[in-house]
């Protein structure tokens, strides 16, 4: 067990389809300065910087090199974490490790992505050069493969999936940073949007956004001194599965990496009934069906009952366990930042600074990250250090 560490500040840019008003380093700077302001710190207070980003999506090799100074990396300990879709949560976990190791007291993590500048599908086409690349390049078809199996296995319906899209885009209206805010979206509209890859409709997918998100981690002594209500990291677990599509067993239906990561994290904190014990969850939902599958993988319900949670309103803002008050990845997806945003939103709920998206009395928050079925991160944040 490492030393205690907490999140004491967060900052986000406004996320949208194109932030043409700033270059990528300036986007990072915007999030970093917002987090410093939130933590009432200056850059001089920060000991180390961790950056999270998808390599190559924006046509910059070594994005940490080109954007690090935007996070105040000048003359500091700084490096980048890149683990695909989980980059943002893995970056946050790395920030936590820095403090938990006892070697650093104040660490800033910045996740960022500027999808508008590059070619995410091109970046995805730079995966394994022997097997996948020539057949299953790009993300949407890859998701769709799993969704069609999941529907067949578990009997999840199109309507249940569409309800997740409606929930996400409505919640996003309470989040001033969110990209897709759609207060009047209906199930019918979701299902009438074009099918991108069977059986996935456009409005069931996450968008591609420009945005950055920064988090400040602090040691116990500093957190207690500087933050009235720190968000303590109680567990941070990462699991990697096989990478070749043909080897990942039952993908969405099982999501073994998420299941295993959650199991380990719950054990650390002593969580027995996640649906009852967590006050809020910010989970990485790349598309609607995934959110329902994650309900099952995270133990909110039994396998095959995920659709019933959305039907019953259990995960709505006024339900037993609000899932993604921020609108989630389905509403906002600057991919290298998407995981960092989940962690920041979880922390924000504990800080009690969630504004219109605040869930009342949050003491325990669940946060997850996801990378193409192969990688999962799970963090548990708490208002109490132990």
């Amino acid at each position: 067990m490492g030393k205690r560490a907490a999140i004491i500040g967060t900052g986000q840019t406004n996320h949208c389809s194109s932030r043409e008003d700033v270059n990528e380093m300036e986007l990072v700077y915007e999030a970093a300065t917002a987090a410093l302001k939130d933590a009432e710190m200056t850059i001089k207070d920060i000991d180390a910087v961790v950056l999270a980003n998808m390599e190559l999506f924006e046509g910059r090799a070594l994005p940490d090199m080109w954007c690090g100074e935007g996070a105040g990396a000048f003359m500091k300990h700084a490096f980048k974490i890149s683990t695909g879709g989980t980059s943002g949560t893995s970056g946050a976990i790395s920030g936590y490790y820095h403090v938990a190791s006892g070697l650093f007291d104040r660490v800033m993590v910045v996740g960022f992505e500027k999808h508008s500048e590059g070619d995410a599908s091109g970046g995805m086409a730079l995966t394994d050069p022997f097997w996948d690349r020539h057949i299953a390049a790009a993300a949407i078809g890859n998701f769709a493969l799993s969704v069609s199996a999941y529907m067949a296995d578990r009997g999840v319906t199109e309507e249940q999936s569409a309800k997740v899209a409606v929930k996400a885009r409505r919640n996003a209206c309470n989040n001033p940073h969110a990209h897709l805010q759609m207060p009047d979206l209906t199930v019918k509209e979701v299902l009438e949007s074009p099918i991108l890859a069977y059986p996935v409709h456009r409005l069931e997918m996450c968008p591609q956004s420009d945005g950055a998100c920064a988090i400040i981690f602090a040691s116990e002594e500093i957190a207690k001194k500087r933050c009235p209500r720190p968000a303590w990291v109680r567990a941070a677990v990462t699991r990697h599965d096989h990478i070749y599509l043909g080897e990942v067993k039952n993908r969405l239906s099982t999501m073994r990496s998420l299941r295993e990561a959650a199991k380990a994290a719950y054990e650390i904190v002593g969580i027995k009934e996640p649906l009852k014990e967590f006050d809020v969850a910010e989970i990485y939902d790349p598309l609607t069906y995934a959110e329902i599958a994650w309900y099952e993988a995270l133990g909110f319900c039994k396998d095959g009952e995920g659709g019933m949670l959305i039907d019953g309103g259990v995960t709505q803002m006024d339900g037993e366990l609000p899932v993604n008050p921020s609108g989630g990845v389905i509403s906002t997806n600057p991919v290298g930042a998407s995981g960092t945003i989940r962690v920041a939103e979880g922390a924000l709920q504990i800080h009690g600074r969630g504004g219109k998206r605040q869930v009342p009395d949050v003491n325990l928050a669940l946060v997850t990250g996801y990378g193409v079925y192969c990688w999962s991160d799970v963090l548990i944040l708490s208002s109490k250090p132990y």
């Binding site: 194109s18 932030r19 043409e20 008003d21 700033v22 270059n23 990528e24 300036e26 700077y29 300065t33 200056t42 850059i43 190559l56 924006e58 046509g59 100074e69 105040g72 000048f74 500027k114 508008s116 500048e117 590059g118 070619d119 091109g122 970046g123 086409a125 730079l126 050069p129 022997f130 690349r133």
Partner: protein
């Protein structure tokens, strides 16, 4: 069965396109170059350095720069090289000369081509002057090169 197999090596190529937003500060730098042939820096309110090309924020003080300052077009050659070997990604045919130039009035330097490719005619500390391109597009190559004065 023999252990000998033909060694398979696959070729890879991915066609990708990018568009890089410069941001408001670099945008103004480019517009000044294109429309007025002026090289602009911005001053940091804390350390007082004039940073060139102009930047939104001072990377050392982590505050926004606030005062626009015209610098150059003359300056001092801090260092230089002449490249003789060929590379795919070289912007010009070899031999090509480039250097680091500290423009008059600036506290940081810029990297640019030199018109002179004869090493013996280049010197550290020599005075150079920006030569602007005839056709300017709002790009760092709106300065064609620096020429010894």
């Amino acid at each position: 069965m023999s252990d000998h197999v033909e060694r398979m090596v696959l070729q890879g190529k991915v066609d990708m396109h990018f568009s890089y937003a410069a941001g408001k500060t670099a945008s103004r730098f480019f517009v000044e170059l294109r429309d007025r042939q002026r090289i602009m820096g911005k001053r940091c309110p804390l350390c007082q350095r004039v940073i060139v090309p102009a930047q939104l924020f001072c990377k050392e003080c982590f505050v926004e720069t606030d005062e626009w300052v015209e610098v150059g077009p003359e300056g001092t050659l801090v260092t230089f090289t002449v490249v003789y070997h060929k590379e795919n990604h070289h912007p010009k045919e070899a031999p090509l000369a480039y250097g680091i130039i500290k423009l008059d009035g600036a506290d940081t330097s810029i990297v640019h081509f030199l018109s002179e490719t004869e090493v013996t005619k280049l010197d550290h500390g020599m005075r150079v002057r920006a030569i602007f391109s005839e056709e300017r597009k709002g790009h760092i190559l709106d300065i064609e090169c620096f020429r010894p004065v």
